[in-house]
Symmetry: C2
Subunit: 373 residues, 2 copies
């Protein structure tokens, strides 16, 4: 038994009681990923989870062999018993949980409009809710503030990430990693040796010819890496489900003035952002300060300044210069700062690290940097 899983479920049961939700449904499936199921039960992927206000959990995994190893829930029933149909599963879960007719059932807010109509039709003897600001949103708010278990995982994940950052610098400098593929597969192999589940997203390795793209396409190729000019290496390691997310830029001289300017502005923007990070600071203000800083040099960053990380690669808080999603930073948040500039002729650069806010202050968990060669 992992007490932190039960504790997380109890916090949700409390909210269910407050909001008078009798049955709460989570779904994790291809195209509709929701790591809340892993966060609440330990089961890594592909399942439905039902929580009842009577404080019982019912997990319906696609792979029940897998559930034996990973999942903690009061009851586990294979998805095949419901023909792998979520609407049918909700119907039968409500019966299994003895949910009274007429009571409120909440389904995921990501549910498509057309599927929502099916739930409502099939469960017309219940009150089916589909809300952005409902209990799925509340679950995200809970996940936003990492608990002690999660912060422990992040410290370990960051340690491994930093080891690999150092190795990458060494291996690129000594000429042992010559191509984008060399760099990307080195990360894949090294992280698994150290107990990671893998990479949190497809590594982006872009040599000087391709670094102009925010996200290089294809993610990595047989092309040369870290030759003259600007190369970008953006990767994250997934440890016990939690991903780090860092970007190194390798800058090989001789650089022209435009390239020097991109590097200098990016480094300054990073320092500016980091100096503003503290509990109580507004995400929009920090992002806005960086956008203004770039604007003074007539440059524009084509993406946001950063984002929360956790069981998802992109989650709250979002650091962008836009009033929606603005929020105040607080202890327990883990997020990236990743200023970058991209030029179709001179290439791109980005500097990205992972930041943790604690009750004591602000920590850069990772140690990524611009490497000058």
């Amino acid at each position: 038994m992992k007490p932190f899983l039960e504790e997380r479920r109890q916090r949700l049961y409390d909210k269910m009681a407050q909001e008078n939700i009798a049955l709460l449904m989570f779904e994790d499936a291809e195209g509709r990923r929701d790591p809340a199921i892993r966060w609440l039960t330990g089961h890594p992927a592909d399942a439905l989870l039902f929580l009842s206000v009577e404080r019982k959990s019912l997990l319906i995994p696609w792979d029940s062999n897998m559930a034996v190893f990973y999942a903690e829930a009061d009851t586990v029933i294979p998805y095949s018993q419901f023909e792998r149909q979520p609407v049918k599963a909700l119907r039968e879960a409500a019966a299994f949980m003895k949910t009274p007719f007429g009571s409120r059932l909440e389904i995921p807010p990501i549910t498509s409009y057309t599927t929502f109509l099916k739930y409502v039709e099939e469960l017309n003897d219940f009150d089916v809710l589909c809300r952005n600001d409902g209990l799925h949103g509340a679950t995200k708010e809970l996940r936003l503030i990492k608990d002690d278990e999660e912060i422990g995982i992040y410290r370990k994940a960051a340690k491994i990430t930093n080891e690999i950052i150092d190795l990458l610098e060494k291996m690129v400098c000594s000429g042992k990693l010559k191509t984008e593929t060399d760099a990307a597969l080195f990360i894949e192999a090294e992280c698994r040796k150290r107990g990671c589940e893998g990479t949190g997203f497809e590594t982006l390795a872009a040599g000087p010819e391709r670094s102009f793209g925010i996200h290089a396409f294809p993610a990595y190729t047989g092309a040369e890496f870290a030759t003259q000019g600007l190369s970008i290496l953006d990767f994250g390691l997934k440890y016990k489900g939690y991903t780090t997310d860092v970007t190194m830029t390798f800058a090989r001289s001789p650089l022209n003035k435009s390239q020097e300017k991109l590097l200098n502005l990016t480094e300054k923007a990073y320092k500016l952002a980091f100096s503003m990070v503290r509990a109580g600071a507004s995400t929009m203000e920090i992002a806005g300060a960086v956008d203004s800083f770039f604007g003074k040099s007539k440059k524009a960053m084509p993406h946001s300044l950063g984002h929360g990380i956790g069981l998802e690669t992109h989650e709250a808080p979002f650091l962008r210069d836009r009033p929606d999603n603005d929020r105040l930073l607080s202890a327990g948040m883990v997020f990236t700062l990743e200023p970058g500039l991209y030029d179709p002729v001179h290439g791109g650069c980005r500097l990205e690290n992972d930041i943790l806010i604690t009750t004591e202050g602000v920590e850069a968990l990772t140690n990524s940097r611009i490497v000058r060669l």
Copy 2:
């Protein structure tokens, strides 16, 4: 100019006129992937696409540097001009396209119920449609029958896949690939050398200790691969956007009777399924025949028999023993056949190949197999 892109768009414009849709919106974003944008414009990912019944296309890419290299559309406007907000972009696209007030706009059926309400509110002077059987469904039906360009790509992708299957057998037999990570990273490196964009999904390499899972978790680790018992290697190569999808099983003797039985049943099920594939056959009947075959030996396959492949790893046709999605196979379809059995004690096995139906007959594009060591 790639004539096949314009041809695909023209077929959709025809359908828009028939159904009286003035403006059709596609979205490809994290969590809401839709390869229709790549299929219609060549732009690989992260964009909005608007088609007007006046036969004009407007692409709104997240990364406009990338669009210069890949995209074909009448107009390209960076997403940042719409603050990367899809509802705002639809509003302004309708103005740009001079779409008359009151006319019918169609948004993606994957749009969540809560987002749908926002579209309707923001565009209350239009008739906003969100339909499963609308023009997005029609686009999927068009994509289901691969055109000559796509079949050419699949022949090349399969050729590379088969080269790598042969190499994998050789390297595993000679003991050069010892761990799950060795096998998975060998595939990553070799496919990129041959011009692939990468793998179509995270390679699943599961040694005998982990092959009981349908989809091993983590996907691959530092554990030994192809030691005594049953090991599964499930991978796909992405070539010009299209993914193959094959599974090899490596069976190292001595095997016990249960393991022999799993292998024999899986091979027989594969042959049975392949013998039934032809233009005009029902996907449900083929899948049902395999389920019955396993059932006679008191075994059950915990997943469906196969699925279409293309720009998505899983797309129509779906081969499963269930009345929804039943359809008749026809020329131009490319799909997997992948019977498999999984035992928590003895391990799992799966045999998966990619099948193309042409006007002449049925071809197994790939050459995956159960390798006995």
